[in-house]
Structures are given as C-alpha cells and as structure tokens.
Amino acid sequence: MIDAATPLIPLAVVVPLLWAVLTAVRPQVRAAWLVVPGLLAWCTTAALLWSHVRAQGVTQYALGGWAEPLGIGLRADGLAATLTLVTAVIASACALHRLLSPPAEFADHAARWFWPLFFLLGAALDGVWLAADLFNMYVGLELLGLSAVGLVTVAGTTIALAAALRYLLAALLGSLAYLLGVALLYADYGTLALASLANGFTASTTTLVALALITAGLCLKTALFPLHGWLPPAHGAALPPVSALLSALVVKASFVMLLRIWLGPGVSLLVPAVAQGFGVLGAGAIAWGGWQALRHAELKMLVAHSTVAQLGYLFVAVPLLVDASAAARASAWDGVMLQVVAHALAKSAMFLASGALIAAVASYRVDDLAGVSRHMPLALFAFGLSAVSLMGLPPSGGFSAKWMLLQAALASGQWQWVFVLLGGGLLTAGYVFRVFRASFLQGAEDRFTPTPLGWDVVALALAASAILLGVMAVAPLEVLRIGAPPSVGLLLNGAP
C-alpha cells in the first residue's frame, strides 16, 4: 500500500536532517532561536505521523518515486511511528536540557558540533525506525554510530575521548559484520526489502552464516552481554543529555533491527534453542549489569550499567515471542514494546536527573550525594520516579511491561524467566536505593552549586511520562500492535 499522500514519513527524517545542516552552517553553541523551531517542527511531524498510522494503519513511501529495490523505501508501522514520536520527545527534552545549561558547559571547542551531530543523530534514528530494507537500516545505523561517537567527544575530557574511540571501534566492527551478513543475504535472495523477504529464509549455509554475522554485529551494537564492554564508559563519560539519548534510544536501534529481522523473515529459523539462547544472554546481562551497578562508585557509571541490565529484559522476551502459545506471544510483544518505550523515557530522565545531581555536588561519586535530598528535591524526585519504572514497581511503564512478560512466561510455563524478571527487579532496587540512601544521609556541610531549575523540570516531565505510560498503556499498545510481525501478530488484530 503505497500512499502518496503521506510525505510525513520522509519528513520525519528530512526535518532533523535539515536542521543538522542549518546548525552546521551556523555553528553557534547557544542557538535557541534556531534549535527550538527545529524541535517544534520535528515533534509536530512525528506526532502527525503517529496519529496517521494510528488512524490508517501501516503506511509506506518510496522516496523519489522509485519502487524497490533501488529506491529508498520507507515504511511506518506502529513500532516505527511510536519510536519516531518517542525520539522526537526525548530529543527535545535533551535539547532543552542543553539549552538551559550554563555557559560553562560549552568550554570545549568541539561543543560547536553539538547541534549538527544532535540533529544528525535524530535523523539517523528515524531512518532506522522507518527503514523498509536491510540496506537503509545499515546506512541509518552507521550514521547513528558516527553521530553518537561525535556527541560523546563533545564532553571533551580524555576519558570521553577514550570512550568515544572504543565506542567507534565497536560500532564499526558491529556494522561491518552486519554489512557482511547483508551481502550474503542479497546473494541468496536477490532483494534486501523486508517485504520481499517475507516468505522467510531457507536454512541454507549462506543464510545461516549471514544471520550469525548480522546477529553478532547487532548484538555488539545493542551492547548485549557479554558484548557490552564499550557501553558503560561511553554512556558514563558523555554529557548528560548525550548519555540520555544514547541509553534511551541509540542502543534500541540495533535491537529493533534484530527484532525486525528475526521475527520477520528469520522467524522460521528462530528455533527454540536460538530463542532460549537470546534469553540466557539477556539473563546474563541483567545479572552482570545489575551487579556492576551495585558496586560502582560513580553515579553515571551506575546508571550506565543499569542500561546494560535493562537491555537484558528485551532479550529475555525473545524466547517468549516465539517459544510459546499465541496468547503468550501477544503478551510478550506488548511487554517488549512497552519496555522499549518505558526504558527510553525512564533512562533519559534518570541521566538528566543524575547530571543535575552531579553538577550540584560537583562530584561523580554516589557517596558524595549526602544531604542532596534537602537541596535538590526535584532532581531527586525525578530520579526516584524513573527508578520506580526501572525497578518495575507499579504504577509505571516498566511495571506494566514486566507484568506482560511475566504473564507470557507463566502462560508458556517458562518459569526460569519468571525468576529472572523478578530477580532483576530486586537487583535494580538494590542499586537505585544506594543513591537514595546516600541522599538522605544527614550532616554533610552545605556546599552545593545551584543548578538550573529547568533541568529538574525536564527530567521530571520525562520520568512522569514513564510513570503515566504504566496506567495509560491502552492507546500506545494499540498503535504498537499495528503491523506487528505476523508470527506474533495473529491475536493482535491491528489495522492492516
């Protein structure tokens, strides 16, 4: 269904791209007059696209009028539309945080590249969400990696540079593996469009090698345990709004690609053993990330390791998406979708709140937060709300997601994942309460640096939406079901 009346799809990529160019042409470090209209245009486009998909179902667009395989095919299903909207919202929040930052934050000369890279990152993300074929995904992913690395370097510290280099090498390796896999798939099937591959892969050697390469590359980019080593330093060393974007959205891009490939054409090869393997790695991520977060002395490293753990939940859902009854699969789909969105909102809020807390006490260490509950109640409250969602306590998006995954696991009798999900929640509680414990400690002298109130408000808004998502999940889930892979979509009866 090619709907020529929907230029909204390319606009979702073009608008941030346009502002990337505009801000590159006028590289001022404080450019609210230029940035804010861009954010408004971006959010409007994304919101319109979301409501369009909600009303009309899956929408496709062939850029430049060429049909596939040569043209740049874009496709907006519920997942793509929702993530585009979430991207625009979170990016706007991060941009506001940046705009509200005091001028001291802009000391590094790389800071002038913040806005171009920021908008490029947004365009790349939207490109990945909306891509309809494996090669566009590659381009989007590669641009995403490059702009993300560039943004990490904006922090300007030596630690950030090392983290950026490490991140870059991991990203390059990951996308090369992916590209190699795509090359092999093209040899086998002569097309890269997901729609034309919909008949499913055959179990030829080329295909199996290709899938292995693609999976390895994307898992490296998603920082799935044990390939997560690059993530905590990069997310820990970047500026708060950059960390927020990276943890909330960038790692999800490769996960969404994995999901689209494995649940689309790859579903016939997603045998129980493979699916359970993903689950085991996810459980490893939950345990290892949680354990590291428990023992790290620095606040941002704690939050970054928490991302490693939270990504584990996404992979724990994989066995429930295939190796289960139809009802359980549907529940698992809802759960994993909600987890993607809820974690994005909660983790970006948590990074922004952590940034404010760190700036207030002028120290990265958790132990130095003593007494901060008195001085920065709002930032701590935002941290707390996002922690509620990450712990999977009700009412929150994180809870609802966990609940659906639990239901899927119970319905399919896979008790091992029940315990992983519950244990992960306890571990999360363990490390987030380290922060509260420190913040309630009395007796430290007041040596706090004032931080902009706007920072707290932005973080609070994101955290509150993660909470609200838990009690008002009906409409988002309806949209997220639109165009779900047929293998999980049988019961979801979304629009065509």
Partner: protein, 497 residues
C-alpha cells in the same frame, strides 16, 4: 464532583496536597499546616459520604483500563470504608501530632509530602477493587514510607531503612508473583464479596494454593507475621508520628487488610476452607501472637516493646480471618479498627514521654503519672484495652475471636488468646505500675516545658481523642455505625450469598 467518582476524590484529597506540599518552600509553615489539616478533614468527610453509599447498598466505583486485560478499579465497598474510615480518622490525629512534633525541625516539606503520599497509598489500598490495583498501591506505600523511616538521616536510621526495604521489596516481589500466577489462569481478579475464584477448574487447585502461599507471604511481611517481622522493631528509629502511623495504621494494617481481601474477596472464605488454606494461616497467626508477646516482655525500650506488641496484636486480624464462621470474621474485622485506635494511643504516649521528659526506657518512667497525668491516663486506657479488659475496645475483639474459635472448631485457639492476654498484662501492667505507683528516683533525662499543660497541646489533643475512642468503641459497640456494627454488616454480606 460527581458522586460516582467519589473514590477517586478520596484518593486525590491526599495526592494533591502531597504534590502541593512538596512544592511549598520550607518556610511556609502556616500554609503547610492549613493545607494538611484541611486535607485530612476533607478526607474524613469524603469517606463518610462514601460510606453512605455502602449503607444504601450502592457502593461508589471508578474504573478504567490500564492496558488490555488489566483494569484499575477503586470501589468504596463496606470493607474499603472500614479501613479508609480508620485511616482517615487516625490520619487527622496523627497529622495534628506530627505538626507539633516537627515544630522547628528541618526537612518538613519532605516529611509532610511523603506523609500525604502515604495516606494516598493507604487510601488506594483500602479502595482497590482488584488485586492489581491493590498491588499498585501496596508498592507505592513501600516507596513512600521509606523516606519517613530514614527521615532523621542518621546511620542508624539508614540501616533501619535498608532492612525495611529488604523485607518489603522482597515481600512485594512475592506478592507480585502470587498475583501474576493467579492472573495467568483466572484473568483479572476482582474483589467480590463471596470470592471470585470458585470457577477455577480443579486441576488448577495446586497453583491456587501456590498463589495463596506467595500472596500471604508477601502480605505477611508488612503484616509482620513471624518470621517476616524483623523490619518492624528496627523501624522504631523513625520519628514518633511515623511509628504511630506505621505501626497502628498504614504498613502493618495494609498487610493485614490484604490478607482479609485475599481470603474473603479473592478466594472466598468457603472456597479457601475447601482448599485447606485456613488452618495453616490460623497456625501462623497463633505462633505470631504468642511469639510477639513473648518478645515484648523482654524489651526495655518503650517503643520496641510496643513494636513487638504490634507484631502480636496485628495477627489477631489474620487469626480472625482464618477462623471459618461469622463470629471469627467479626472479631478479626473489628480488631482491625480497635487495634489501630489503641496502638496509636500508646505510640502517642510514648512520643509524649520522649518529647516532654526525654524518656525512652521503661525503667525511667517511674512516677511519670504525676508529672503527666493526662498522657498516663491515656496510656493506661490503651494498655488495659490491649489486655482485653471489658468494657474497652480490646475486649470486644477478643470476645468475638474466642467465640469464633469455638465456632470454627479450634478450641486450642482459646488457649492462645488467654496466653496472649496474660502476656499482654505481663508487659503492660508493670509500666502502668511504674507510672502511677512509683516515685521518680532521678530527674527526667531531658525535660522540656510546654507552658500551662503537661505537654504540647498538639500532642495532648490526639492522645486524649484516641483514648476516648478506645473507651467509646467498647462502650457503644451496640450503637449503629460503631466498628462492631460495621464489621457485622460486612460479615453478613460475606456469608450470605
């Protein structure tokens, strides 16, 4: 305000003040006090209005779908009104007490913000119309009480907070698992007056038992069932109004109330008996009653003794619930109210002694009755009530529990009740004796003067009011709308289909 949405307004009457109080600057003392008292008063009116709906047999209800297959339900049924009424009433008094207690202390915005959030959670627990909504507020209560437990910010308080979290978060996980198991084959489990699980196929009964065990374990942590009670005595480092609140109303009662809901409104008392779930609960409650009393006799710190007394007394509720038959039910439900009123009185008194005289240890209380006659009178009423001396509130509870035990065919429970009463007397009467019949041997550790009265009026008024209620609830048990009558109303609906 439409009448149907009344439960939502009851909730909002503490949620909105919480938000406003958080936003208030620390220095706006008068505004905060007004807001607190106005909200507490308004809530009482709203709960009363909601109860009227129950009397007319048309309970108010609010519901919407959170996500497919999961509804958010608030319903003001008879049981909900019982707990909500108790909470609203005691909250009014505790708020008054807390305002006096925190006079001049730091972090009052934070304290009262979380305090209001606690009320909101407790109201949510009372009004929850299905297990999922219940769980939602149950966890919210955990989170909103943590800042109150660690409020003082000392190492000791933080350690207590950590213990508290370990217990309650793990308990929450057990409850979540139990509820999730139940939902996985029974769907959305609503609270119905005769239970909602009767239709479950017999092949699923083992899972029903597993879910019951998990839920009771999860609820038992907050209800301080032995051996899950370890957090409670430690949590005594919290400020006095928090102890009064945690121990008399919010946390322990939330657990006990949850047990009531699970047995009566999820499984249904008759179905629970068919599944052979009641006797283990009776045994667990009996063990807790005796163990808590025994431990209480060993404590010399007044608040710790009261804490172990709470461990023991709260299990009377679980005991009453587990005794099949209307009389046991009446005893358990009425004790939910009576224990709250009596225990809150005792904690107020403990706070009065600590704040006025600096006394924390029982051995320092000699002669306090002469220095603080009103407080000591209130303490005596609470203690004698706890022991179960007629005509006070505690007697009514124990009378019905005893009859219920006979009715249910467990005469050995009578022995538990008698043993507990003896132990109650053993740990309360020496205190009463010290108050009235001994002379002060040393100056008070840290005496403060509050002018014309023996202590601050902010302290005295709530203490005397709840002491008066303890007498009233016993004397006027036969009057309409007394706790006893309300418990009988619920019981009638529970046992008559």
């Amino acid at each position: 305000m439409s009448a149907a949405s009344l439960p939502a307004w009851v909730l909002a009457s503490s949620l909105l003040p919480a938000v406003l109080i958080f936003l208030l600057p620390e220095s706006r003392r008068r505004t905060r006090t007004t807001l607190n008292l106005a909200a507490a008063g308004l809530k009482l009116v709203l709960v009363a209005a909601m109860s009227w709906g129950v009397v007319r047999n048309a309970p108010h209800e609010v519901r919407f779908t959170m996500w497919p297959g999961a509804e958010f339900i608030l319903r003001g049924d008879a049981l909900a009104c019982l707990f909500a009424g108790l909470s609203a009433l005691l909250w009014l008094f505790t708020t008054i007490y807390a305002i006096g207690y925190l006079e001049g202390a730091p972090n009052r915005s934070r304290f009262f913000g979380f305090f209001s959030l606690c009320v909101a959670s407790t109201m949510g627990i009372a009004l929850a119309g299905n297990l999922l909504t219940f769980l939602l507020f149950y966890e919210l209560l955990t989170l909103s009480t943590y800042p109150l437990v660690v409020h003082r910010g000392t190492e000791k308080a933080l350690a207590a907070g950590r213990t508290y979290l370990r217990y309650t978060i793990t308990g929450g996980a057990a409850l979540l698992l139990g509820i999730a198991v139940l939902y996985s084959f029974a769907g959305d489990v609503e609270f119905k007056e005769t239970g909602s699980l009767r239709a479950v196929a017999e092949s699923q009964w083992p899972l029903l038992r597993v879910a019951f065990g998990l839920m009771i374990a999860g609820l038992g942590v907050k209800a301080a069932l032995v051996p899950l009670h370890g957090w409670l005595p430690q949590a005594m480092v919290a400020p006095a109004p928090v102890s009064a609140l945690l121990h008399a109303v919010a946390v322990v009662k939330a657990g006990a109330f949850g047990i009531v809901r699970v047995v009566y409104d999820v499984y249904g008392i008759e179905f629970a008996r068919e599944l052979a779930l009641l006797v283990p609960l009776t045994i667990a409650a009996s063990v807790t009653i005796v163990w808590g009393s025994l431990r209480a006799t060993q404590q010399t710190d007044l608040k710790r003794r009261l804490a172990f007394s709470t461990v023991s007394q709260v299990s009377y509720i679980a005991l009453g619930v587990s005794l099949f038959g209307p009389l046991g039910t009446i005893g358990g439900l009425v004790h939910l109210l009576h224990q709250g009123i009596m225990k809150v009185t005792l904690f107020y008194c403990a706070g009065n002694y600590a704040e006025t005289l600096g006394v924390h240890d029982i051995r320092e209380l000699d002669g306090a009755g002469r220095r603080m006659p009103l407080t000591s009178a209130a303490f005596t009423i609470g203690a004698v009530g706890m022991i179960g001396v007629p005509p006070l509130a505690g007697f009514v509870s124990k009378w019905y529990l005893g009859l219920g035990a006979l009715e249910a065919g467990h005469p050995w429970v009578l022995a538990v009740l008698i043993a507990s009463s003896v132990l109650n007397a053993a740990y309360f009467l020496p205190i009463v004796h010290r108050l009235w019949f001994r002379n002060a041997s040393a100056p008070w550790p840290d005496e403060r003067s509050f002018g014309r009265f023996e202590t601050s009026l902010w302290f005295l008024i709530p203490t005397l009011a709840t002491a008066a209620l303890t007498v009233g609830a016993g004397l006027f048990a036969g009057m309409p709308f007394s706790p006893l009558q309300w418990a009988m109303l619920i019981t009638r609906r529970e046992y008559l289909p």
